[in-house]
C-alpha cells in the first residue's frame, strides 16, 4: 500500500496551522454546529442522545407513576400537564399510551442507537484505525443533522392536536394507520432517523474498508471497530426495509391507502371520519417488515457495546482477549442469524405452526454465538489482574445483566411459552435487561473509558463508581420483579391494572417497582453532574491514562484536527497485554518491533508516547 502524505510533521506545525486558519475558517458555526470533524460529530451525538435520555426517562417515570398509583394526580408536575391529556394532573388513557410509545421510541431510536453507533462509530473508527477522519465527512454531518431533525419531529408530536404517536414503538397498523397528526409525525421521524442510520452505516463501512492505517489488517482491528463495522452492515441492509414499511404506513395514514388495512374494518376513531380506505391489505404484513428490521435493530443496539465491553475488559484485566477471532465470528454469526429470526415477535399474531417452529429454532440457535461471547469475556477476565475502574465495573455489570436478559430471551423463544407470556411484563423485563442492563451499561462503560480521549479530561472515578452501584442495584430492583408480574399475566401497555381483578394482588409490586424506578432515574443525574463538573473543573487527561494498546491512545487527548501528530503505522495486534517474555505489561499497536524490551528493566512506553 502507498505511504501516507505528510502535511504537517511536527507538533509545532500543527499549532501554526491552527492559528492560521482561525482567522477565516473555523467560525463558531463550522466548528461547533456544522462540523465535519468526526470527534465533533461524536460529541454532538453524545450530548443530544444524553439529552433525549433525560426526556425518555422522564416519560418513563410518568407512566410508572400511573401504574403504581392509578388515578392519582402526578405530584409536582401534574398540574402543568395539558388539560386535554391529564385532567387535574391525572394521567388519562390517551396520554398513557403516548407515554409508552414515546418512551420506547425515544430510547430506541434517539438514545441507544445514536449512542451505540453514532457516538462510538464516530469516536472509535477513525481513531482506532489510525486515520484523520471519516471517509465521507460531509455525509457524517448530514447523518447527525437528519437524526437531530427527526428528534424534533418526533417530539413535536406532543404539541399537536391529539398528542404524540400512540401505537407503541412498534407502530402496528391498523391503529397507526388511522392515527392523527402526532402519529404521522412519528412515522416521518422514524423514516428520517432511519435515513440517518443508513448514511452513517455506509460511511462506517467505507471508512473501515478504505482508511485503515498502513500495517493494519482487518484482523488487527480492535473488537469495537469490528463490532461497529458488522453493525453497520446490519444497518445498511435492515433499515431500508423499515423505511419501505413506514413509507407504506405513511401512505395509509395520510393518503388513506390500504396496504395494511384489512377488509371491512370499522373504526371508532376521531380520525377515521370520512375514512376512504378501500381495504384488502394485511396488518400482519407490516409486522413482518417491521421485525425484519427491528430484530436486527436489537443487535444494532447491542453489538457495538459488545465490542466496547471487550476492549474495556481486556484493558482492565491486563490480558489479551480470549478468542479474538472467535469473538469476531460470533458477532458475524449473531448478525447473520439476526436476519432470520424476526418471526419470534409474531408467534401470537398467527402463523403457520411449521414456520413458527422454524423461527423458534433459529432464535434458540442465536444463544450459541451469544454464549461464546459471554464465555470469552469470562475467559478474558479469568485470572487477570482486574482494575476496578468505573468503565470496567460497567462492563462487568453489562455481562451480568446480559446473561439474565439472554436467558429470558431463550425462554421466550420457545413458541408455546411465548404465546402465554407475549405482551406481558416478562417481555418488558427482557427488553430492559438487554437494553438498559446491556446496551446502556455498555454505553456507560464506553463513555467512562473514552471520555478522557474525547474531551481531554478525566471523569471523577469516585462518583463514577457511585453511579455504577446506584444504577446497578436499582436497575435490578426495578426490572427483576417485572419477570414475576409477567409470569403472573400482567399485560404491558395497560393504563390501569386495577380494573382487572387478577392483577390486584400485584399492586404492591407495581408500587415497589415505581419507587425503585424513581431512584434509578435520579441516580442517572450523577453521570450528568460528573460530566458537567469534569468538563469545567476536571483534571487534564494524559495521553494514555489506562495504559491501553489501541491506536486512539497514541493521539493527544483531546486529539487535534487530523487526530495524530504523525502518520501511524501498525505493528501488532490490539491486545498484547502481559506478554510473558516482555518487560512491559502492555505493547501498543504503534510500537515498532525494535522498540520492545525483551525481558526485564526500563520503560518503553513513556518514551514512546512522547514521540
Amino acid at each position: 500500500m502507498s505511504s501516507p502524505v505528510l502535511v504537517s510533521d511536527t507538533h509545532h506545525d500543527v499549532h501554526t496551522d491552527h492559528g492560521h486558519h482561525e482567522h477565516h475558517k473555523q467560525s463558531f458555526i463550522t466548528k461547533y454546529i456544522f462540523s465535519t470533524d468526526h470527534k465533533m460529530v461524536a460529541k454532538q451525538f453524545m450530548l443530544s442522545a444524553l439529552f433525549f435520555l433525560l426526556i425518555g426517562g422522564a416519560l418513563a417515570l410518568l407512566l410508572r407513576w400511573q401504574l403504581a398509583y392509578p388515578g392519582e394526580a402526578v405530584p409536582l408536575i401534574g398540574q402543568f400537564l395539558p388539560e386535554l391529556i391529564a385532567s387535574d394532573g391525572v394521567i388519562q388513557p390517551g396520554l398513557f399510551i403516548q407515554l409508552t410509545t414515546m418512551h420506547a421510541s425515544v430510547m430506541i431510536f434517539f438514545v441507544i442507537i445514536p449512542l451505540a453507533v453514532g457516538l462510538f462509530g464516530n469516536l472509535c473508527i477513525p481513531l482506532m484505525i489510525g486515520t484523520d477522519d471519516m471517509a465521507l465527512p460531509f455525509i457524517n454531518l448530514l447523518s447527525f443533522w437528519l437524526y437531530f431533525l427527526a428528534g424534533i419531529v418526533a417530539a413535536a408530536g406532543f404539541f399537536v392536536q391529539g398528542g404524540a404517536g400512540a401505537s407503541g414503538w412498534t407502530g402496528y397498523p391498523p391503529l397507526s394507520a388511522i392515527g392523527g397528526l402526532g402519529q404521522t409525525l412519528w412515522i416521518v421521524a422514524v423514516f428520517l432517523v432511519g435515513f440517518s442510520s443508513i448514511l452513517g452505516g455506509m460511511n462506517y463501512v467505507t471508512t473501515v474498508l478504505n482508511k485503515r492505517a498502513p500495517g493494519m489488517k482487518m484482523f488487527d482491528m480492535p473488537l469495537s471497530v469490528w463490532a461497529i463495522f458488522i453493525t453497520s452492515v446490519l444497518m445498511v441492509l435492515g433499515t431500508p426495509v423499515l423505511a419501505s414499511a413506514v413509507s407504506m404506513l405513511f401512505f395509509d395514514n395520510v393518503l388513506h391507502t390500504s396496504f395494511f388495512m384489512p377488509d371491512n374494518l370499522t373504526v371508532a376513531s376521531p380520525y377515521a371520519n370520512g375514512m376512504k380506505h378501500s381495504g384488502g391489505g394485511q396488518p400482519i404484513l407490516f409486522q413482518h417488515l417491521f421485525w425484519f428490521y427491528s430484530h436486527p435493530a436489537v443487535y444494532i443496539m447491542i453489538l457495538p457495546l459488545m465490542g466496547v465491553v471487550s476492549d474495556v475488559l481486556s484493558t482492565f484485566s491486563r490480558k489479551p482477549i480470549y478468542g479474538y477471532k472467535a469473538m469476531i465470528f460470533a458477532i458475524m454469526a449473531i448478525a447473520f442469524l439476526g436476519f432470520i429470526v424476526w418471526g419470534h415477535h409474531m408467534f401470537q399474531s398467527g402463523m403457520n405452526p411449521l414456520l413458527g417452529t422454524t423461527f423458534m429454532l433459529s432464535t434458540i440457535v442465536i444463544a450459541v454465538p451469544s454464549a461464546i461471547k459471554v464465555f470469552n469475556w469470562l475467559g478474558t477476565i479469568w485470572r487477570g489482574s482486574i482494575r476496578y475502574t468505573t468503565a470496567n465495573m460497567m462492563a462487568l455489570g453489562f455481562i451480568a445483566t446480559f446473561i439474565i436478559g439472554g436467558l429470558s430471551g431463550v425462554f421466550m423463544a420457545s413458541a408455546p411459552v411465548d404465546i402465554y407470556i407475549h405482551d406481558t411484563y416478562f417481555i418488558v423485563a427482557h427488553i430492559h435487561y438487554v437494553l438498559f442492563g446491556g446496551s446502556l451499561f455498555g454505553i456507560y462503560a464506553g463513555i467512562y473509558y473514552w471520555f478522557p480521549k474525547l474531551f481531554g479530561k478525566m471523569l471523577n472515578e469516585i462518583w463514577g463508581r457511585r453511579h455504577f452501584f446506584w444504577t446497578f442495584i436499582f436497575f435490578n430492583l426495578t426490572f427483576f420483579p417485572m419477570h414475576i408480574l409477567g409470569v403472573g399475566g400482567h399485560m404491558r401497555r395497560i393504563h390501569d391494572p386495577n380494573v382487572y381483578d387478577f392483577l390486584k394482588p400485584f399492586q404492591p409490586w407495581n408500587e415497589f417497582i415505581t419507587i425503585m424506578a424513581i431512584i434509578l432515574g435520579f441516580s442517572q443525574l450523577i453521570l450528568f453532574g460528573n460530566i458537567i463538573y469534569t468538563w469545567i473543573w476536571g483534571p487534564k487527561a494524559p495521553k494514555n491514562p489506562w495504559n491501553a494498546n489501541t491506536l486512539e491512545w497514541h493521539a493527544p487527548s483531546p486529539p487535534p484536527h487530523g487526530n495524530f501528530l504523525a502518520p501511524v503505522r501498525v505493528y501488532r495486534s490490539p491486545y498484547e497485554f502481559s506478554h510473558p517474555d516482555r518487560a512491559d505489561d502492555f505493547h501498543p499497536q504503534w510500537l515498532a518491533p525494535g522498540e520492545v524490551e525483551i525481558e526485564e528493566t526500563t520503560t518503553v512506553s513513556e518514551t514512546q508516547n512522547t514521540h
Binding site: L136, V236, S247, T257, G281, L285
Partner: protein
C-alpha cells in the same frame, strides 16, 4: 484543513465515493425489496383486483419510458467514458442527452398520472393503484435525485475551470444504472403482469 491529513490511497483500492455508493445501492435494493415483497403478498391475496386494475395502465407509454431510460443509461455510460478520456465535448453532449432523457421520463410519467387523476383514479382508489403510485412515486423521486447532480456537473463543465472529477461522474453513473434497473423491474411488475390466458373466476 489544519492538522494532519492522512490521505493515503484507499486500502481496498476502490475510491471512497464509489465504495460508499455500492454500499448505498445495497441499501436501496433492500428498500425496493420491501415494496416488491409486499407486492407479492398483497397481489396473491387480491389476484383479481390486481389483474383487472393493471389492464387500465398504458403499457405503450411505459414501454416508451423504458426505452428512454435504457437509452439514458447508455449515454450515461458514454459520458463516463468521455470524462475519463478527458473529452469535454463528448462529456457535455452525452450528459445533456442523459438529462433530456430523464426529463422525458418524468414528463411521460406526469401525463400518465394526470390521465389517471382525470379518470378519478387516486392512490386510495384500490390496492393496485396504491402500489402503482407508491412505487412509481419513489422511483420518480430517485430520477429527480439523479437529475440534480447531473445538471450541476454539466453546468460546472461549462465554467472556465471545467469539471474533471471523473470518479464522481462514475459514481453518479452507478446510481443512474440502479434507477434504470428499478424501472426495469417495475415495468413488467406493474404493467405486464397479467397472464393472457387468465380468466377471472365467476362468482
Amino acid at each position: 484543513m489544519s492538522g494532519l491529513v492522512l490521505d493515503h490511497e484507499p486500502v481496498s483500492g476502490i475510491p471512497h465515493g464509489k465504495l460508499a455508493m455500492w454500499v448505498f445501492l445495497a441499501s436501496e435494493i433492500m428498500f425496493f425489496t420491501g415494496f416488491f415483497a409486499s407486492f407479492i403478498v398483497l397481489r396473491n391475496a387480491n389476484i383479481d383486483l390486481f389483474t383487472n386494475s393493471a389492464q387500465a395502465l398504458n403499457k405503450w407509454l411505459a414501454l416508451l419510458n423504458t426505452i428512454v431510460l435504457i437509452g439514458s443509461s447508455l449515454t450515461m455510460a458514454l459520458s463516463v467514458l468521455a470524462i475519463e478520456k478527458g473529452n469535454k465535448r463528448n462529456f457535455q453532449l452525452y450528459m445533456t442527452i442523459t438529462i433530456l432523457c430523464a426529463f422525458t421520463f418524468l414528463i411521460v410519467k406526469y401525463f400518465e398520472y394526470t390521465s389517471k387523476f382525470s379518470h378519478h383514479i387516486y392512490p386510495w382508489t384500490d390496492l393496485f393503484y396504491s402500489y402503482y403510485f407508491l412505487t412509481t412515486g419513489f422511483h420518480g423521486m430517485h430520477v429527480i435525485g439523479g437529475i440534480i447532480p447531473m445538471v450541476w456537473m454539466l453546468m460546472r463543465s461549462f465554467t472556465k475551470k471545467g469539471y474533471h472529477n471523473h470518479v464522481r461522474v462514475e459514481v453518479l453513473g452507478l446510481y443512474w444504472h440502479f434507477v434504470d434497473l428499478v424501472w426495469i423491474f417495475l415495468f413488467p411488475v406493474l404493467y405486464l403482469m397479467f397472464p393472457t390466458s387468465y380468466v377471472p373466476p365467476i362468482h
